[in-house]
């Protein structure tokens, strides 16, 4: 089962017991999930169960060196899809992608990697 990682995250974030929720109040930063891939095609889904109105998320794929003290998509190691306005980000550049997503939405993330490592 894919869960939020307990250690691979910005230390100021709080992970719940069931490791399916994260909260933070000291600036925008990142937590990784427990599973990584390095070849072939992979797909995961996220259902937004709860997102308080002053909160926002950026979800997607991040490589090992993505800066955990910044949002996903801040540097060249991450690709994210933002809840506000549905913008996609890479290297801090936002491009239009979809409408914003909200509680109840299920997002799909596909990554296509070469078979050889």
């Amino acid at each position: 089962t894919v869960l939020l990682a307990l250690h691979d995250r910005a230390q100021q974030l709080k992970i719940t017991e069931d490791r399916l929720a994260v909260t933070g109040e000291k600036g925008y930063c990142m937590v990784r999930a427990t599973h990584s891939v390095n070849r072939g095609n992979w797909y995961f889904e996220v259902t937004i169960e709860e997102m308080p109105d002053t909160s926002a998320t950026r979800l997607g794929w991040g490589q090992e060196f993505a800066n955990l003290q910044a949002p996903l998509g801040y540097d060249k190691f991450g690709y994210s899809w933002r809840s506000r306005k549905g913008t996609r980000f890479h290297e801090s550049r936002g491009k239009h992608y979809s409408n914003g997503y909200v509680e109840g939405d299920t997002l799909g993330f596909l990554i296509v990697l070469p078979e050889q490592r």
Binding site: K26, G27, N67, Q69, A70
Partner: protein, 152 residues
């Protein structure tokens, strides 16, 4: 320290910022200050290091010196560039009459400038910025004896 800090907040030291022989503007004592006194707290916006890095790049690209950033610890930097108090005007000296110290008051970390020696009226307040060593150097204008020649 809590007592001294509260006294400082209750009755601030008489200081003024004015043209400095060291650089641009400086902070000057308007009353005699004894040694080991709290002179002023270095006040500004508390930000995370990663935000400070972003701002430093941004300030430099706009020609605003980044010497108003003061590291409290690994999690917090005080940025006095656009909001702060008179402490932001204190110039660096390699042979200063004050020093900066991080103290903890009611679990809040604060930067306080202490006098090292008695300071006379109209004497400029200075402390050693202790900037980390960097590639591109900033010339030091303190003119003090034993000046190191650069800030970083």
């Amino acid at each position: 320290e809590l007592l001294k800090f509260n006294q400082l907040k209750f009755r601030k030291k008489l200081l003024k910022f004015a043209k400095s022989a060291i650089h641009d503007w400086g902070l000057f004592a308007m009353e005699p200050i004894a040694a080991d006194e709290m002179v002023i707290e270095y006040v500004g916006q508390m930000i995370r290091p990663v935000v400070a890095d972003l701002r430093e790049t941004n300030y430099e690209s706009r020609g605003i010196g980044s010497s108003y950033l003061f590291r409290i610890d690994m999690e917090t930097i005080i940025d006095a560039t656009k909001c702060g108090n008179l402490a932001r005007f204190i110039n660096h000296s390699c042979n200063p009459n004050c020093y900066a110290k991080v103290i903890t008051i009611e679990s809040e970390k604060k930067i306080v400038i202490y006098s090292k020696q008695p300071i006379g009226v109209n004497e400029e307040i200075t402390y050693d910025y202790k900037f980390p060593l960097e590639e591109d150097k900033i010339a030091c204008l303190c003119g003090a004896q034993g000046c190191r020649g650069t800030l970083n």
